[in-house]
């Protein structure tokens, strides 16, 4: 293949942070008009590599060459790379919640004359055009705040298109999307490919990699392990290279659930959202038995997270009616503290907002909800804190130079592991896990599943909320399906199939 067909070559890229060699002589190349995937474990260096490529880490802060369209480029900022047609959509979306849809698309590269006066009419016209291309039908004037993640993601892509993108970089775009939205997005990428737009995408969802990748590069510990082309791509091979060992079954074995007494139950449970003006949870009757893993399945926005929030001390201040019974006692939780006292813990899906303190280190975060365990008479024992931090870093294989690393310097997946560790350490009786493996690599997923099995064998009960059907099917003894706030079905492990669940999740 001649150099000419390669839109991008990155040669021996090395990037270090204090104590971490995030990228170590990385070589990748991408052909014109293909969809190239970067896969690898959490902390492998995928996001870092893309930040180097897009100029977020400016030239000089790393070593090695970026060859784009046959020329060596030195980007000193994101503006330079955008000028060349390289646009990145980060793991954290970069939108402006209080600005309108059309303005969001054009912030930073406004349609304006030389004096800087914006032509709003033209802006709206163009915005509409790009929204049509990405297939998003929203009111141009609505604020981005009012849209769901799936739509926001499409706005980001419309924004990229409006910047005349040639190489589109997407860092885990489907992590926060449900199956439908993910599929939409992948179809869109294939559409764009036909229009000649090359994409690089990072993903932990190996199924979608298998489905749309033309080629991929596997990273591990900052090094390239291998590159595969479309005919060689298969899930098992990818996993083997990623993790460096064979994982035969993604879901570890667990003895069949034999039944037990009910430890948690909601009866005719309703949560009414005063702002949205509707029931966000509608007559939920959910049971959790001792030692059982129960799944809560449904589309994004179906009300699963809202259910968890309203059970766990009514965090969102909905209007609640109906009953919660814990250990045969009628309870009311007006604050998470009350729920925690009754042995309930909730691992939030939004780790930034509800879960972690990014400015503090790993040990502090893990011990935050169980300070009693590491203190005596109100005085903290920092040796214990370090001890437990070390234990969980090892158990969950958290990639970090030390337990004193601030959370914000960890990769996305490793932050998620810390969040899980925090609640595992609290040792609750009833654990609600909301999207526990979002953005987590297969190896670490296996670790988390193993821990779940271990915990239920000791009598803990776990409620898993997940958009990933395989995870629900593979891990849960019983499954509830929710659609638009209504509980539409209940399946036992044996009778549940992906089709049945999807069917019940889409009909009301």
């Amino acid at each position: 293949m001649s150099e000419n067909e390669k839109i991008l070559v990155m040669r021996s890229i090395t990037k270090t942070f204090p104590g971490v060699r995030a990228l170590d002589e990385v070589d990748i190349h991408v052909d014109r008009g293909e969809i190239h995937f970067i896969v690898g474990e959490n902390g492998a260096g995928k996001s870092t590599l893309m930040k180097v490529l897009s100029g977020i880490y400016s030239s000089g802060s790393y070593s090695g060459d970026i060859v784009f369209n046959g020329e060596i480029k030195h980007f000193s900022g994101i503006k330079d790379s955008v000028k060349e047609g390289i646009v990145i959509i980060n793991q954290e979306l970069a939108l402006f919640p209080d600005l309108t849809v059309y303005e969001n698309i054009y912030v930073g590269h406004e349609v304006a004359n030389k004096q800087g006066v914006i032509d709003w009419i033209e802006t709206k016209k163009l915005a509409k055009k790009y929204l049509d291309i990405v297939g998003l039908d929203v009111n141009l004037d609505s604020l981005v705040r009012s849209l769901g993640v799936g739509k926001q993601q499409l706005i980001e892509i419309a924004k990229a298109l409006s910047q005349d993108v040639k190489l589109l970089i997407l860092d885990e775009p489907t992590a926060a999307l449900n199956e439908n939205d993910s599929e939409n997005l992948l179809n869109l990428l294939v559409e764009l490919k036909k229009k000649g737009i090359t994409s690089i995408m990072i993903s932990h969802k190996l199924r979608e990699v298998e489905a749309v990748a033309d080629s991929l590069t596997i990273l591990r510990d900052g090094k390239v392990i291998t590159r595969m082309d479309s005919d060689e791509i298969n899930e098992h091979e990818i996993i083997r290279h990623m993790v460096g060992r064979q994982i035969d079954d993604i879901f570890p074995e667990r003895p069949k659930f034999k039944g037990g007494k009910v430890v948690f139950e909601t009866i005719h449970f309703n949560a009414y959202d005063r702002n949205l003006n509707r029931y966000i949870v509608n007559d939920a009757n959910i049971k959790l038995k001792e030692g059982e893993v129960v799944g809560l399945s449904g589309l994004m926005g179906a009300g699963r997270t809202e259910f968890a929030h309203s059970v766990f001390g009514n965090i969102d201040e909905y209007k609640i009616s109906g009953g919660i019974i814990v250990n045969e006692k009628h309870v009311e939780f007006s604050h998470p503290q009350a729920a925690i006292k009754h042995g309930i813990a909730y691992v939030s899906e939004d780790r930034k907002k509800d879960g972690l303190i990014l400015g503090e280190n790993i040990g502090q975060n893990i011990c935050l909800s169980s300070l009693k365990k590491i203190s005596k008479n109100g005085i903290l024992n920092f040796f214990k804190q370090s001890f437990f931090a070390k234990k969980y870093v090892k158990d969950l294989d958290i990639k970090t130079p030390s337990i004193y690393q601030q959370l914000k310097n960890l990769s996305g997946g490793n932050q998620q592991k810390v969040q899980v560790a925090k609640w595992l350490f609290a040792e609750p009786k009833i654990l609600i896990l909301d999207e526990p493996t979002r953005g987590i690599d297969v190896g670490a997923k296996y670790e988390i599943y193993t821990i779940i099995n271990d915990l239920v064998s000791k009598g803990m009960s776990i409620l898993i909320i997940s958009s990933e059907l395989p995870e629900i099917l593979g891990m849960c003894d019983r499954i509830y399906v929710i659609a638009e706030g209504l509980q539409t079905a209940e399946f036992d492990k044996e009778e549940a199939t992906a089709e049945k669940i999807m069917h019940k999740a889409t009909v009301v």
Binding site: A94, G108, Y272
Partner: protein, 476 residues
């Protein structure tokens, strides 16, 4: 459930549409409501004197220097910063210009130009420390507040220095002088009418363009009502001012500043980027916006407006004094928040902040005019600010409402509604009587919650109805 409903009476429909719009968007109208209430109260208490031509003119003149500061402060607050130094900075710059002209006999352009250089330099300095060195703006501008207070005292030598130059007279107490016809100042009146025409024409053009682009316009009724209201207010102002002395230079400068900034913040790249930076600094950086530069620019703009404000104030009171400056910045900040700006950034409108300034100065002016004990004034001001902020938070998640839709829904679901209400009543009674016996209550409790949720479900169905949903079943 009924399948046919009678069409709503058109007059009733009109009122429902207007009230629905008002209730849904009440957040945008907060300061207008506040202003109307304040105006009405004082007008009544002073037998109309408060809104009379003379006092109304005075009120606007008094507001000028705070309004100009509030314009700058809006952008500072939009970018999540604060500037406590502008009160004394403004007073100091005013003193600098006055002293240069009056005592040192410098030329006015030179005095203004050198003051401009000083304030730009100060702005760069503040912005640099805030954006680059990351010193919290609260701290750095607090330091500035002390420093400029000192400079002010040095500059005035701790004495009050009167202004005598024609320039200050014109700005401070001068009016756009024209012929009066029939007791009305013509230029003011014509200006008022021109503005009205401009607003009407431009809004019609905008609606047309939107229609061409397929973008939804607000409904005709709402548009016409709103426009008529604006015309009425503008004509009232124009008429009122014209019957006294017309438009003062203070007012003119304020209007120019407001319009320039309105244009700047709504139509220019730089202006919109300020809002982007305030709304999400990380995203702004990733969109290729230089956050540091933007913040420095915002502080420079604040400084320039402080200069204008300081010169206006000195001209208005016809002197410069070491006592000028205190509370100016706080009035400006309060005006901005009354105008609906958000301390968490990204939200805040220029015109609304100016109206916020008018609210504050109306309180001061009105209470003096109505003969309140002047010690009460700060208490009232503080309370109004508090109410404004509470109002803002309370209306943050307001539910849209369509009274016309509700009108139809109430008729359509009349039976269901009565039944649900009846069930609820019964469930309550059953529970109450069960409480008197030894029966276990749990079943009754569930029955009650169910009845409650049934009831609120139907209520909400009604509450969330839209007129469009009922088009098919309206009887003609």
């Amino acid at each position: 459930m009924k399948n046919e409903i009678k069409k709503i009476n058109p007059v009733l429909r009109y009122f429902y549409v207007i009230i629905s719009m008002f209730r849904t968007n009440i957040r945008d109208y907060g300061m207008y409501i506040a202003l109307t209430i304040v105006f009405l109260i004082f007008a009544i208490m002073t037998n109309g004197l408060f809104l009379g031509p003379i006092n109304f003119t005075n009120l606007l003149n008094q507001t000028a220097y705070v309004a100009v500061l509030a314009v700058g402060m809006t952008l500072v607050i939009v970018t999540r910063q604060i500037d406590l130094s502008v009160g004394y900075l403004g007073a100091f710059l005013g003193a600098y210009v006055v002293v240069s002209v009056e005592n040192l006999h410098g030329s006015i352009p030179l005095a203004l130009f050198s003051a401009l250089l000083i304030t730009v330099f100060v702005g760069i300095f503040k912005g640099f420390f805030v954006a680059k060195i990351k010193v919290p703006s609260f701290v750095i501008t607090l330091a500035g507040m002390f420093i400029f207070k000192g400079f002010l005292m040095l500059m005035t030598n701790n004495r009050t220095i009167p202004t005598s130059n024609e320039f200050f007279n014109k700005i401070g107490v001068g009016y756009l002088s024209t012929a009066k016809i029939g007791g009305l100042d013509m230029i003011t009146f014509i200006m008022g009418i021109l503005i009205v025409i401009l607003i009407v024409v431009s809004s019609i053009l905008k609606r047309r363009k939107n229609r061409k682009l397929g973008i939804e316009n607000e409904s005709k009724q709402i548009y016409i009502t709103k426009t008529l209201f604006v015309i009425f207010v503008l004509l009232f102002i124009a008429f009122n001012l014209a019957s006294y002395r017309g438009v003062s230079y203070l007012l003119l400068i304020t209007l120019v500043v407001m319009l320039v900034y309105f244009f700047f913040t709504t139509k220019t790249t730089l202006g919109r980027r300020i809002y982007a930076v305030g709304g999400n600094p990380e995203a702004a950086e990733l969109s290729g916006i230089k956050v540091t530069t933007i913040i420095i620019i915002v502080f420079i703009s604040m400084g320039i407006l402080a200069l204008i404000s300081g010169v206006m104030y000195a001209s208005y009171v016809q002197n410069t004094s070491p006592n000028h400056g205190p509370f100016w910045e706080l009035y400006a900040i309060a005006a901005t928040f009354i105008g609906g700006a958000s301390a968490s950034g990204g939200i805040g409108k220029i015109v609304n902040s100016v109206i916020g300034a008018v609210v504050i100065m109306s309180l001061k002016n009105g209470m003096a005019l109505a003969g309140f004990d002047s010690n009460i004034e700060p208490i009232v001001l503080g309370s109004v600010l508090l109410m404004a902020v509470v109002f803002d938070i309370y209306t943050r998640n307001i539910r849209p409402v369509d009274l016309v839709g509700m009108y139809y829904a109430k008729r359509k679901y009349a039976e269901e509604y009565t039944k649900a209400k009846q069930n609820l009543k019964e469930a309550k009674q059953k529970l109450a009587s069960a409480k008197k016996t030894d029966e276990p209550l749990i079943e009754y409790e569930y029955e009650l919650t169910n009845a409650k949720s049934q009831y609120s479900r139907i209520k909400n169905k009604i509450r969330s109805s839209n007129e469009e949903d009922y088009q098919d079943m309206i009887k003609v």
